[in-house]
Symmetry: D2
């Protein structure tokens, strides 16, 4: 960590600041430039109260040399994290395919879709029971009943299930869900993250619509700090100025996230643009860019879907896409 002192500061004030910082258990390298004096902080900088330094009147800026996350940082954990979910691996070397409808609607619907996507090679069944909707007048999901239907579909097909938890009081109902999804709007719901860090279950953490990679990894850190290191990162499109698509899928974050962190990275092309006809191209690109899997919305009748029909593909389209994806997984030497 580097502290930049304002020009024309009297030396006495600098010395006082140095003593204040050193009292926090670190040491200081002092460097006097022509216009600016610089203090390099050496030691365990996570102990240091940055806010306090930054608020000091003689401080112009505090620069970070090192990423502020630790457990999620590849620097301290060079090996890839590979998460075992009911015998299926999620992480480097494997392409995981999480497929299913935006929202669970009926038993017939979810079981039928589950069977189709399993047949085509999906490894997980996704389905929303609780749906975050911008409008209070829109369909909000089946809730607890939706979770029950998902479990029926799991029983019928053996596919582990992924579903979104929206609020802490829903947690008991997710005890038997295989992967708990945290939605983009909850990426910085810190109290929720902290509690999810206390359970022993994989968490699929979606990137916030405007989050930087550092913020994304800091949210993973919130979970990991409490003990739960089974975090799967999921890029699902960021907000940009574009209006022709719902979001802009940021595929270029994948190699960067995988370099900075050891956690698995999954890509959701369906939310990425919100346009079903782009799903194939984006899924191929996700594998090519190094993602550990894709999460795809599949609906047996997109035109009648209660939610996000515009971005869902049919089981037949999914089957065709899977055949292509297998070729890409092969070039990448990955299991799919």
């Amino acid at each position: 960590m580097i502290v930049v002192i304002k020009p024309n500061t009297v030396d006495e004030d600098v010395q006082r600041l140095i003593r204040m910082i050193e009292a926090q258990g670190v040491s200081i390298h002092y460097s006097k430039g022509i216009d600016h004096t610089i203090l390099g902080i050496v030691g365990d900088t996570t102990l240091v109260d940055v806010e306090k330094i930054r608020s000091n009147q003689i401080v112009e800026n505090v620069l970070h040399v090192q990423e502020p996350y630790k457990k999620a940082n590849r620097l301290f954990h060079p090996d890839d994290t590979i998460i075992d979910v009911k015998g299926r691996k999620v992480g480097e070397g494997t392409i995981s395919i999480m497929a299913g409808p935006c929202s669970v609607e009926t038993e017939e619907q979810i079981v039928s879709i589950a069977r189709s996507v399993k047949e085509s090679g999906a490894t997980f069944l996704r389905g929303g029971a609780f749906k975050p909707r911008t409008s209070p007048y829109a369909f909000q999901g089946l809730g607890y009943e939706g979770l029950d239907l998902l479990k029926i579909a799991r029983k019928e097909t053996g596919l582990p299930i992924v579903s979104e938890l929206m609020s802490l009081e829903q947690l008991p109902a997710f005890e038997d869900v295989d992967i708990i999804q945290v939605g983009a709007r909850n990426m910085q719901n810190f109290i929720l993250l902290r509690e999810l860090g206390k359970i022993d279950k994989p968490i699929l953490l979606k990137r916030g619509m405007c989050a930087t990679m550092k913020e994304f990894l800091m949210s993973a850190e919130y979970i990991m700090k409490e003990g739960n290191e089974k975090v799967i990162l999921c890029e699902r499109g960021i907000r940009t100025f574009e209006t022709a698509t719902r979001n802009t899928l940021d595929l270029s974050c994948v190699p960067v996230l995988k370099k900075k962190s050891h956690l698995p990275v999954i890509v959701d092309p369906s939310h990425g643009t919100g346009l079903s006809w782009t799903v194939e191209a984006l899924s191929k690109a996700a594998i090519a860019v190094g993602a550990d899997g894709v999460m795809v919305e599949v609906h047996n009748n997109p035109e009648e879907a209660l939610c996000d029909g515009e971005q869902s593909i049919t089981p037949a389209q999914f089957d065709k896409i899977m055949k292509t994806l297998k070729k890409y997984a092969e070039i990448e030497n990955k299991v799919m």
Copy 2:
């Protein structure tokens, strides 16, 4: 609502779509252009399932003619909403001043600041007990103890208190808080909003860092739909590409929000840029642009603040600013 049909669609498909839409209790105006056919939906369009229409294969686009919020919409509620908080008005015609520290630290600190800001003319005491922090390693607030200290300061000064609620399970502890604040990161925590709609207490709703005004008002709508119409909007800075400031305070949203909605609009200049030396200029501008008040961080010792010291001003600076703001309120013919 307007539905744009794709070029070269056969008429039979258009007729089927028309029947599907009309079945939802609205009527259709049909208009055939050279390349595109257009359907105008007439009637109560909030009944219409937009997703379903958008997912139809023959539909190119659905355009909204009218804002999707109703209770927050000035079109249906032309008069300004003025909220009474313990005898103090918040809304058009009054400049409310909410001042206090980023986070409550000790009884001495909060009581002393409360006395100072009251002396200078503040009408509300703000103070954080639960603090959303990007890093899990940063100070997270005093929690319930912080709320107790705030209440002591209220007792000492008579200033109604404003504090942020981060999660539903904290709600019982806020029963005796005068205005409940919802932070920017929770602006789309829809379950939280819905529950806050069921209580009878003013909610200060902060705009999300990347939220459009429509999304902001839709979040207000979530609260109002359940019955609680005492919503105070608060602009606190949006995220832009700027790195010289923490956020970019969007003062230009104030006249637009006040035209589109009847709800009071407050501005938070402290979070707006994160730089204490801009607070005076931005507060003056907030009043000039038509805001109904400002929320300012004041700390007796910013250099020792446990949180956000960089953006806090001292009680002496606050006192000076208040004298200037009064002149602005006067020109605007507002009570302060």
Copy 3:
């Protein structure tokens, strides 16, 4: 085009507006809703003065049904545009590889890089002579001498050359350049675009850092309107909130641009993130997502490069990447 009339407008005013619009050679479909009256404009809407309608006091909004570009629009030109550059095709079915240094430095450097990249399979040589730099104190390129060196490298290798034109007065010197590049910062330099529309030479138009796809295609339209239809679109990364990378490469724009337009789309992964170690992953993803080629910065000694060394790969790395890209081109059934 759809005109939304403000609520409570008297009918006489609406009739006057209708007459004004109809006088522009189009006809009107009139549709009266509960709160809003809507006018659908039928006919050649490019004749209509949108600004004038929008400024009318009774108009609430003007909605566009159809994209505002014509020559670049696939709707009016369903077949892919394939551009012939000295016998090499650029467009659907072919993967073009444009490789070379950020800036031309010496004859030895450019000839040596040209030979290497040709050997590895590149089809075009790129190299900057005029460099747009954020700082006036940074190296601004060799200028006209740089163009001469590029031509020597072309003579030595037979590779057609691509170079950036920064200002109209440089145009004569580009007469013998095979593809003229327009940089991201000039994407809306309308006078430059218009003049480039009057020559008969392929233009590689880079997307502005904050441009929407519609704006990007409107800039292509500026060139095409004057007669030059040989426009190659190039995605090179957009500005987002991310600070860990120089830009965010928007691969998801590729399928959308190719659907909306018939023009070739090239991807520049080097500028996309500014990090050389991401170039391989992003190039593979570019082919997988449907791009018609990639433009890659290659430098024989990135550490000594006068410009953008951080994002350049070595000829040896380029050679390795090319071998992988060929496998991807093969799956996609494209010539490379």
Copy 4:
């Protein structure tokens, strides 16, 4: 400037880098941390080739301690720059009012508007002759004829004129224009900026739609470096996710720009939101926040304006606004 070395770098490589940097005429402070080694560069860092350092394989990051602009930097030029334009001051202490139509249309129009705005107290006449338009099919301005009409209006009223130059070849025609405006889309047209630095005439430089303040000031630096220090900065709205307004006026940049630089800062509320009914509120706020003036679009018949009618106010509205602005200028102790 601070160079952060990658973890686990061998000392020999660090020493080689130090020698390379020192060869550029600066000295190094070496500081070894637990994970990272840091080099502080002391001396005139503008001599240092940052790109070259950043491209070095052992370098993780280069952090800037000091702003990269010099002539525009208040650190080296503490006094406010006040520009004299035909006897009128632009800069700290004075509120300049630049008013007039988006585009010059006829002699009658421009003379009539000029007379009105002068009467109301405007100090400059603005009017566009060359108009940058997103669509090639939109009205592009009267061109050279427009400049002639502006000069007639100046002769009639004595108001100095401000008009936008779009391209270098137009420069001779601007010899007799009092302030040359550079539009937002040309803020990084570096060749244009450089040439404007060689003339002796005030330049009103508009901030790019997505430009940071640092980039804005670097563009001012391009002009100033060549000798022309008469640069007026103009905030005119930035692009955000908001769609209810054309742009988002960034009033919070004003105090920051005025602290970082000594140049005058003008605000353009008309382009700021694109909505004429917000101009009054935003103009008041501009003065309150510390701007040195406003640039306002005034049109005698906004509904018939050939350009931007939606954001223009009438002379009568302008007159009313001026009366209010004078009260604000008075509180701020500024001449208007």
